[in-house]
């Protein structure tokens, strides 16, 4: 196991108050890989995803036991700067949520709040670069200063991806990023994921098994808060070692 590891999770237990949502999850997420997390609703895959950038901190009574490391640094230690962590580990949400401001200001938001640059020219460059990376530049370059709300759902989601890329994260967490989109928009997002993995480490939660099979290198199957199986995507879908995994991917439940 001499493979490089970006995020290492060992024996993570997660609680909402007294309700345990994750049971002893251990996983190693490799850099510049797309790691898909699948499983039925309520299996803990989203909770797990949101534990990685500590978005769960916002929920009163939420608590993690165990260890999550990003590049060997303990994410939950007291010296971890959560603000900095979230800049390094970006997140794309299920429902696209652009701010009600212009497309330009949406992409520039993270750059501005993190004080990455003050110069207009540099900001313009970052906005163009990230919109190109999100395959949205050509569609919107003439109306950057119009409201982001005027975009279609798929465009909004790509704008959110551009917004996340603008702060130069290392990891992108995607929480069912295409589940609210039509097939064409979904295909665009998937193509985008494929392009992005050259630069970023991507963890994607999805309901859609075909999607997991298409975009990911490795896949983890969650069931009732446990990571049942984790393997190369090809292996997991063609030769699952676990009975429950097999039942799920063959559509016998879920």
């Amino acid at each position: 196991m001499g493979n490089p590891v970006k995020i290492s999770v060992s024996d993570a237990n997660f609680f909402y108050g007294t309700n345990q949502a994750l049971h002893g999850v251990s996983i190693k997420i490799r850099p510049q890989f797309v790691t898909a997390l699948i499983g039925p609703s309520g299996c803990g895959k989203s909770t797990f995803l949101r534990a990685l950038n500590r978005m769960n901190d916002l929920i009163p009574g939420a608590r993690l036991e165990g260890k999550i490391e990003l590049d060997g640094e303990n994410v939950y230690s007291d010296n971890m700067d959560v603000i900095q962590l979230r800049r390094r580990v970006g997140m794309i949400f299920q429902r696209s949520n652009p701010f009600p401001m212009s497309m330009y200001d949406n992409v520039a938001y993270g750059v501005r709040v993190n004080g990455l640059t003050k110069r207009r020219i540099e900001l313009d460059e970052i906005v163009e670069k990230t919109l190109r990376a999100a395959a949205l530049w050509d569609e919107i370059k003439d109306r950057l200063h119009r409201s982001a709300m005027s975009l279609s759902g798929g465009q909004q989601q790509r704008l959110c991806i551009a917004r996340a890329l603008a702060v130069e994260p290392e990891v992108l967490l995607m929480d069912e990023p295409a589940s609210a989109l039509d097939p064409i928009s979904t295909a665009k997002i998937e193509e985008l994921i494929y392009d992005l993995k050259r630069t970023y480490t991507i963890v994607i939660v999805t309901h859609n098994m075909q999607q997991a099979a298409r975009v990911s290198d490795e896949t983890g199957f969650f069931l009732t808060g446990r990571l049942v199986e984790f393997n190369e995507t090809k292996r997991l879908f063609t030769a699952p070692t676990n009975r429950e995994t097999e039942d799920y991917i063959t559509g016998r439940f879920g």
Binding site: M55, R86, M91, N114, R163
Partner: protein, 297 residues
Amino acid sequence: MRKFVDRTFVVLSLSATVIILSMLFLIIGNIAYHGTERLSWEFITSNPENGMTAGGIFPAIYGTVLLVLLMSLAAVPFGVLVAIYFAEYARAESRLYRWTRMAVNNLAGVPSIVFGLFGLGFFIQSIGKAIDQTFYPGRLLYAQPSILWAAMTMAVLTLPVVIITVEETLRAVPTEYREASLALGATRLQTVFRVVLPQAWSGVMTGAILAISRGAGEVAPVLFTGAAYFLPRYPSHPADQFMHLGYHIWVLTTQSTNVETTKPLLYSTVFVLLVLTFLLNITAILIRNRMRKWATR
């Protein structure tokens, strides 16, 4: 039988509506009819004369507008800060939250005359006195009724309205925006001021509108804290007293020796107060709509 009950109910609720409406029209109609008789440009722009049996009411208009503006300047920012604490930072189980929440709710139910007495005791006799003793020894400046203290007292009275309105709008801003902002590495403060608050401007303005409506009409809080019986000068310093339309109405009604001469004046003053409150509201609503359009541009 059921049909009969149903019909009766419709008739009852309709007539109740009609009664309310006719009362409103009666009041407004009466005031508009009698109030416009003596109304003239001169009445609006000149000082009262002859022991308030002649002349105009400009000092009272000026004083009321100034009071409402000062009051909003104090109540709105302060109320917004409290609302931000309530909606964005406070945890429901924290003791500070529970106590402040209770204080705000109870504040909303306190009779306005009590605020007047509070203003006299707290602002004038405590804070005002302390200011005078510290900065103006031997002089009586802030330890007496003034437009500043009247505005502060009025601000305390309207604060609960502002807080509750703004808080509700803040809570209505979807959590997804907060999450999106935090996930980009923004601090909570940045999230509140750059994402949440800009979407709540209409609520802030609604709070201001409600505060203005309430503040422009209340008399009791300014009774002891700054309203003057008669003052031909206009307040130019925070420690000056001022004339107030509502108070002026009370003065004209109860302190006049010649009811027949002051009656038309009284009607016109009431009419002006109504129009003024209406105009202040309209202004705030227009600003709010402007902001709404601008925010969703």
